[in-house]
């Protein structure tokens, strides 16, 4: 596959453009939803240093989402803000596990958020993000390959943060270890769709955009098993459906309702 240098060149091949855009929606929506859930923790993290760290990670991850939306904008998909805020749930391509609520209650009222879910989710997600971006750094679409390399220079700090939390809680006391383990088992039932390449998976691989699902999964598995003391048996499942195919839960509607509130109050506002 020869290198595609520009959006114009990418749009000359209809199938290529479709596969590329679908991949970009996955990358953008994953980072966007995961950082929205992160932003809901602002002021609620276990201690003040964690609040600084988590909000810094979240802000930077939101920046990554913005870059992927900008690549879509360059391909004529529409304005990046609109892509982030105004697309209905059924058009979203994020893994369902990223949209999952932080816990019971709401940000403004009785937020009974679960730190174990957060630590497990962000650790598993950051390893996944690393593996997926590594599979893209030499892809045929040069603008995306460049962005992937740039994101990978910053993301090791995010991954190291969550890996440390995971290891420390896993080894803290029985209660902490049990809570972590319970969320790991849950993730095994719900995180499987992250590895789906979606309706254009075959086209993505033929276009030289990304490795196959099995390769992504194997790389992820070997990295998380270095850290997780009690690996659940069996493969990852898709209990909540597959976000890559536009299947989502009520938690996504909840997220979209909140995150688009300001945007919808004045769609023409200049920030």
């Amino acid at each position: 596959m020869t290198a595609i240098e520009s959006p114009k060149q990418a749009l000359e091949n209809q199938i290529y453009a479709l596969a590329l855009k679908d991949l970009l929606y996955q990358l953008a929506d994953d980072d966007f939803l995961i950082s929205f859930r992160g932003s809901e923790w602002l002021g609620l993290a276990p201690h003040v240093e964690e609040d600084v760290a988590f909000s810094s990670i979240t802000q930077n991850t939101m920046g990554h989402a913005f870059l992927f939306y900008s690549l879509l904008e360059d391909l004529g998909a529409g304005d990046a803000d609109k892509l982030a805020h105004a697309r209905p749930a059924k058009e979203r391509k994020n893994t369902v596990y990223a949209e999952k609520r932080n816990g019971d209650g709401s940000y403004l009222e009785d937020p009974y958020y679960d730190w174990a879910l957060t630590v497990v989710r962000y650790f598993l997600y950051e390893v996944f993000k690393k593996v997926k971006l590594e599979a893209i750094t030499n892809c045929s679409y040069r603008p995306l390959a460049n962005v992937a390399k740039k994101v990978l220079m910053e993301q090791p700090y995010h991954l190291a943060h969550w890996r440390l939390w995971f290891q420390q809680l896993q080894e803290a006391n029985e209660d902490a270890a049990a809570r972590i383990q319970q969320r790991v088992e849950e993730a095994w039932r719900q995180f499987g769709d992250a590895f789906d390449l979606g309706p254009y998976g075959t086209e993505m691989q033929e276009a030289g955009l990304i490795a196959d699902e099995e390769t992504l999964w194997a790389a992820w598995f070997s990295e998380v098993q270095e850290v997780i003391q009690h690996m659940p048996a069996g493969p990852l499942e898709k209990q909540l459906g597959s976000g890559r195919f536009g299947e989502h839960t009520a938690d996504l509607d909840h997220a979209l309702h909140i995150l688009s509130e300001v945007y919808n109050s004045d769609r023409e506002a200049v920030w």
Partner: protein
Amino acid sequence: MEEKKRFIAIEAVLRTVDDPELPTVSVFDLGMIHEVVITGNHVAIQMVPTFIGCPALDFIERDVKQAVEAMDWVESCSVAFTFEEKWSTDNITDVAKERLKKHGISPPPENYQPGEEWTVDCPFCGSDYTSMENVFGPTACRSILYCIACKNPFEAMKPVVEYVYE
């Protein structure tokens, strides 16, 4: 020759445009200027972003444009961020490193290799008897540390270098 003078003049201007979050440290000395192209009275500047999620990028873009357009021979200046080039903390000049210290911010380590353990000297007393309080600081590019020798909290720029594939 006229051309060369113009480039020198632009560089001098870029040395005066500070990072909004690091007063007295210019975007030039941070290594954010990739390319300057002069076409007649138009100047096109390509910059490399530091951290992607950095909210200061929009302000930097505006400040650079305004500063260059203030030069009498310049009619217009366009500024764009490129991802073809990767910003690394190795791009930071010695001038910027000295100025960072005056703000209580240690410059990033030199010749840092990814994954390597990272030690930071205190920007105030130079001691290496320091502890990392929080890898994440007030901005994406900075961490918070504490000097046990002189008992001062300080910040340090995180090393960011080209990613190495296994």
